[in-house]
């Protein structure tokens, strides 16, 4: 296996582990589409970062940090917009719909402004939406690896608090942790989206957040089982699909990962259905 393939596989497996496990929490809270909207919020920051690099004549080595800072900021602003609308009495769906329209609209207007300086094209945006795992480098993979480490430690230390936060909001509120964990969740969502963006793209990323938890759900009975099982499924399927995409099946990696997860979900649901009916699952 050559170095580039190894980096792509490491990137995909870490993204799978990260998104799978975090997605279990997101799915239990029913906030998958909020994460999707937050992901779309990143785009305007990414577009603006391209302009900032050109307008201020910054060195190319600053491109990645500026992209992270502005992507993080724009996505956080979109999340704040969602929470503001909810606070104003808008429903979850209505606040998400308005926020995603705002994210798309601002991205396109900013793109027009940045394009006037010739710094970016809509092709770049399409790449953001679709992802391009084949071009992963160690620099792009490192943030996901670091986040995986932090998330793993946080889960080990805060397992009980996280359990209450998603499944027993009353207990979490009594412990005074709810608002703090809400804030951590918002920050973590944005960081996660940014770290997994190069590999999977925005549209397929939400599939990685949702499908592993759905695959594991019929087979586990505990919170920890769901989170760890989702991480395992996410990591294994991503790695396998990445390996297939690198050689056997020359198809777009992100799409192959999501379609493979879909196939596992369908088979798993079928097997779970048979098990419920009393037929032993094979």
């Amino acid at each position: 296996m050559d170095y580039n393939t190894l980096i792509v596989l490491v990137g995909l497996v870490s993204a799978g582990l990260l998104l799978g496990s975090f997605g279990a929490l997101v799915s239990l809270r029913g906030e998958n589409l909020t994460a999707d909207v937050a992901g779309h919020g990143v785009v305007s920051g990414v577009v603006l970062s391209q302009g900032v690099i050109v307008w201020f004549g910054l060195g190319t080595w600053l491109a990645e940090p500026v992209l992270w800072v502005l992507g993080f900021t724009s996505s956080a602003l979109i999340l704040c917009f969602i929470f503001f609308l909810r606070w104003r009495g808008y429903s979850v769906g209505a606040s998400q719909a308005l926020a995603i329209a705002l994210a798309y609209g601002s991205s396109l207007v900013l793109l027009s402004i940045v394009q006037a300086t010739g710094a970016f094209s809509t092709k770049g945006l399409t790449l953001l939406l679709l992802g391009d795992a084949a071009t992963l480098t160690l620099g792009k993979v490192l943030p996901a690896l670091m986040l995986l480490l932090v998330w793993g430690l946080a889960f080990l230390l805060l397992r009980r608090a996280l359990h209450d936060w998603v499944l027993d909001r009353h207990a979490s509120g009594l412990a005074g942790l709810q608002s703090r964990l809400d804030l951590v969740w918002a920050v973590a969502t944005v960081a996660l989206v940014l770290s997994a963006l190069p590999a999977l793209g925005l549209t397929l990323l939400v599939g990685m957040l949702t499908l592993p938890a759905l695959i594991v759900r019929p087979w586990v009975t505990s919170f920890s089982g769901l989170v760890l099982g989702s991480a395992l499924i996410g990591g294994v399927v991503s790695g396998l699909a990445g390996w297939l995409s690198a050689g056997v099946l020359p198809l777009p990696t992100g799409a192959l990962v999501v379609v493979s997860l879909g196939a596992v979900w369908a088979l798993g649901s079928l097997a779970a259905g048979l098990r419920r009916k009393g037929v032993p699952a094979r």
Binding site: G30, L85, S106, L204
Partner: protein, 303 residues
């Protein structure tokens, strides 16, 4: 100043797409399913690719493929929600990346990703600025049948979609109104009536999604489905009032985006994408609508 051959087709196309989207959005919003619009705009991809592969052109078969796939997506969403109770909108989040992934895979397998036949860029961001009606140079030209024969495809498609949506929605208005305003009455409907109503809703939403995407792109489709009707629901008491107010919000949004576009061009020399400005104006108006009338909350709860 507005140029008829350039701006009129854009305005008419957007308003036609808006009529279809407003009707569909009004059915989704009170059920808490408004994000179906964003999801179906991505889920549509395999239908468009299959339609193109079968016909070899960007014609009606591509539109039918889009409507069929969105209908399938909506049907699966309803089925999963009823049978598995996965959680709020989890079924939407699970299905639309799958459909989109299947579309990207199909594009790659068919070799179309290396050609410009299905341009994702065009689907996502639209190309309103390319809608031209060169046969119309003065208002009198609108009365010439020859001018309509040469009208842009997007304009005709948007008007057809709007006409169909209006026709179906008006024909089933009492049923739709009752099902949205009185959930208990809807639960007491006969299974056949309930099934028929769900089928009609799927047709309306799928047609509106496909028409919006083919004419204006994902950005506009997402904005048109959500923003006008969200603004309108906070002011309206009845379904038809919501449709009318949403139409007014759309027209105001169009006017405002044209003014902003002209201002940006004259002041900064920047030609801003109309679709982006339109989406931003719609969001601003949707939020401003209840504030402008001094209402702090919606008249109807947005489920």
């Amino acid at each position: 100043m507005m140029v008829l051959s350039q701006d009129l087709p854009i305005v008419v196309t957007l308003f036609g797409a808006a009529v279809a989207a407003i009707i569909a959005g009004s059915l989704l919003l009170p059920r808490g399913q408004i994000m179906v619009s964003e999801a179906s705009s991505h889920a549509v991809l395999p239908g468009m690719v299959l339609g193109f592969l079968l016909s070899g052109e960007h014609g009606w078969l591509m539109l039918i493929g889009a409507i069929a796939v969105i209908s399938l997506f909506l049907g699966l969403t309803i089925c999963l929600r009823r049978r598995h109770r996965l959680g709020a909108s989890v079924e939407i989040a699970a299905l639309f990346p799958l459909f989109f992934g299947a579309g990207v895979t199909l594009l790659s397998l068919s070799g179309l990703d290396d050609t410009a036949a299905i341009d994702l860029d065009h689907i996502l961001f639209g190309s309103l600025e390319l809608i031209l009606w060169l046969d119309v140079l003065s208002p009198a030209d609108l009365l010439r049948p020859g001018a309509w024969a040469a009208a842009p495809d997007q304009l005709l498609l948007a008007l057809s979609g709007a006409g169909l949506a209006l026709l179906l929605a008006l024909a089933a208005y009492p049923l739709l109104n009752r099902s949205l305003m009185d959930g208990q009455a809807f639960a007491l409907m006969s299974p056949v009536a309930s099934f028929g109503l769900r089928g009609l809703e799927i047709v309306l939403v799928a047609t509106a999604s496909a028409v919006c995407l083919r004419t204006a792109g994902v950005v506009i489709a997402v904005a048109l489905f959500g923003a006008p009707i969200i603004g309108a629901w906070s002011l309206a008491r009845r379904l038809w009032q919501a449709w009318l107010i949403a139409g007014v919000i759309t027209l105001l949004g169009l006017g405002l985006s044209y003014v902003l576009s002209a201002a940006m061009l004259s002041q900064f020399g920047i030609e801003a994408r109309l679709s982006g400005l339109f989406a931003l104006c719609l969001v601003a108006l949707a939020i401003a609508a209840p504030l402008a009338t001094g209402r702090r909350t919606a008249k109807r709860p947005l489920a």
